[in-house]
């Protein structure tokens, strides 16, 4: 039962709302936990043990850290300043060890399930050269759905308790709900305890506005997924699965089509997720903010999969930037290498682990590692050329906020994004490189109108529907970029206009959704990560 399934939208969610509202307010969070575990059991069966194990480990690591903090404050009560410093040092060391145990255990499970076979595969290639036998064999691994998301959320919780940003949760079932809230368990967003826990435990009564806003958002997500993304899946599969048969403009079109498919699918799923939360009065954090308006690769990642980027920034980028080795380099660099080289070095040291983890997080494939390194190189290059670029803009009197300059920058960013997604979707790094090369082989602009694009599985009518869907999404994005929401505007519109828009959305999903002959049901892409 995925989020875009009729069973989820029309049966599961309404049933949950009834049970939730029927429960007394102080017990509603328990109902949410029961529903969340039931949902996880329905999609993952006995793999729920991993979720329960993660909950136990996360909760008790939090409690252990809280106990150490308590002991530290008691020890500091009658100490002088020097003693306090020593006490702080002692307990900081102990807390760091406890945090390390929790993080390492959580990551060990994730790494074993996700990367074991990748390691075996590559180790055997290396050992083949040296003629040494490999005592390990590849195994059939079953990855629990959502493990990459809830593991990061659990690590974030433990780190926040360690840093003292939040108090450790004392009730294990509340920790369990924070980690397993059913709308976000499959694809995120990766939430922070300080942002969502309070709302989860509040047990707000159902409200007409929340249900109406929630269901409109859910249908908007279904529109993106069923009308645009699933339709685009047809040509994308045709080209990426048989890339040897295509070259030139077709490969470029496939890369663009996949980028749109992925955006419509993932952001559409987030609309369903956020809409589902909204039904219960719970506001989960936004995961997308008009990414195609970005004017650089760095800005794109501040607008795309925001919760993952924020997680990496908070728990990898900043801690690495503040680590001893980076600080030592900073001191050394300022004395011996100059400000520019020092800052470039700091950026490289802090960004490398972020982008390596970003690539690996998506899966155990060299193409994902390449994808991470691609953005690492581009963002670092952006930092390296910034002083020179700023000087050129000044000399040439080019204003960064000029419309023509923004269009050029956005266009450049689109090329970067489409190229990245080509490698991301390709069946391996070798296939990605081959596709990238064949894009320049016999590139013929005439292929755009000579009917070639109609041989990829979509009819002219399909292409019109996709284009109309993209325009609708772009218009909504434009309103959001201006600081408003379409839902907010609709809320102020006369009742007949509002209901016409709602019905139009529902019927668009039902009539123009990619169902039936010629289309295949497409699983949620990010649920596989």
């Amino acid at each position: 039962m995925a989020y875009h399934a009729a069973l989820y939208v029309f049966v599961f969610l309404p049933a949950c709302l009834v049970v939730y509202q029927a429960a007394p307010q102080k017990h509603r969070w328990k109902v949410l936990l029961g529903i969340s575990w039931l949902f996880f059991y329905l999609i993952s069966g006995k793999l729920i043990v991993y979720l329960i194990g993660t909950t136990l480990l996360t909760h008790y690591t939090g409690i252990w850290l809280a106990l150490l903090k308590e002991k530290e404050s008691r020890a500091k009560e009658h100490a002088d300043r020097a003693e306090k410093r020593e006490i702080k040092k002692k307990y900081q060391k102990q807390s760091r060890e406890v945090l390390a145990i929790g993080v390492v255990l959580l990551l060990a499970v994730l790494v074993y399930l996700k990367y074991y076979n990748f390691f075996i595969e590559n180790a055997s290639i290396i050992l083949d050269w040296t003629a040494l036998p490999l005592p390990l064999e590849a195994k059939q691994m079953v990855l629990p759905i959502g493990i990459s998301f809830y593991t990061l959320q659990a690590i974030g919780y433990m780190a926040d308790v360690y840093w003292g940003k939040i108090r450790a949760e004392e009730n294990i079932f509340r920790t369990a709900l924070f980690l397993s809230f059913f709308p976000q368990i499959m694809e995120g967003p990766i939430c922070r305890y300080a942002d969502t826990a309070g709302q989860l435990f509040e047990g707000k009564s159902l409200a007409y506005e929340n249900i109406s806003d929630g269901y409109v958002r859910i249908f908007w997500g279904l529109f993106k997924k069923k009308v645009v993304a699933d339709r685009l899946s047809v040509p994308v599969c045709a080209v990426f699965e048989h890339y040897g048969d295509y070259h030139g403009a077709v490969i470029a079109v496939a890369a663009v089509a996949y980028t749109i498919q992925l955006y419509m699918e993932f952001s559409g799923c987030m609309d369903i997720v956020l809409g589902s939360g909204k039904l219960f009065g719970i506001c989960l954090p936004e995961n997308f903010r008009q990414p195609f308006c970005a004017k650089s690769a760095a800005e794109f990642w501040r607008r795309w999969h925001i919760s993952l980027g924020t997680w990496f920034k908070t728990y990898i980028f900043y801690p690495v930037s503040m680590s001893g080795i980076v600080k030592r380099w900073n001191q050394f660099g300022k004395k011996h290498a100059g400000k520019y080289v020092t800052q470039l070095g700091v950026s490289a040291m802090a960004l490398f682990p972020v982008w390596l983890c970003n690539g690996l997080w998506h899966g155990a494939r060299w193409s994902y590692i390449f994808y991470g390194m691609y953005y690492f190189a581009l963002i670092l290059m952006g930092i390296a050329v910034k002083p020179g670029r700023d000087r050129i803009l000044k000399v040439c009197h080019i204003r960064e906020d000029a419309v023509y300059w923004r269009i050029i920058q956005t266009g450049k960013t689109w090329v970067i994004i489409f190229t990245g997604e080509l490698f991301f979707r390709a069946n391996g790094l070798k296939a990605g490189l081959s596709m990238f090369g064949s894009m320049f082989d016999g590139f013929d602009v005439g292929q755009f109108w000579d009917g070639t694009m109609l041989n990829l599985g979509l009819s002219r009518a399909d292409l019109v529907i996709v284009a109309a869907g993209c325009i609708a999404v772009a218009v909504v994005g434009h309103f959001r970029e201006q600081g408003g929401t379409v839902n907010g505007r609709l809320g102020k519109a006369p009742t007949p206009v509002r209901w016409f828009a709602y019905y139009a959305l529902i019927f668009a999903v039902l009539i123009f959704g990619a169902y039936g002959d010629g289309y295949q049901a497409v699983d949620l892409i990010y649920a596989g990560f």
């Binding site: 940003k165 801690p319 930037s321 700091v346 802090a350």
Partner: protein, 75 residues
């Protein structure tokens, strides 16, 4: 406080730091700007800024940065 304004102006001199209260929330200072700022603050005020301090509330305005620096100097 004047020293903080000076450091901030070295990073980007197009902002009115005496009035601005959304340096982070308004995306005026990006992560790299914050890292540069942290490094300069550590040198100038002989303090150590840990990752735990990296929250918008500590960097949203020159006054907030000054409060953080004073707190860390006292510890």
């Amino acid at each position: 406080m004047d020293k903080i304004l000076e450091i901030l102006r070295e990073i980007d001199d197009s902002v009115d730091y005496e009035k601005e209260t959304e340096l982070i929330d308004g995306h005026i200072l990006d992560s790299f700007g914050v890292i540069t700022l942290v490094s300069e603050l550590e040198d100038e005020f002989d303090i150590s800024i840990d990752a735990v301090e990296m929250v918008p509330a500590n960097f949203n305005s020159a006054a907030a940065i000054w409060e953080m620096v004073k707190r860390l100097q006292e510890n």
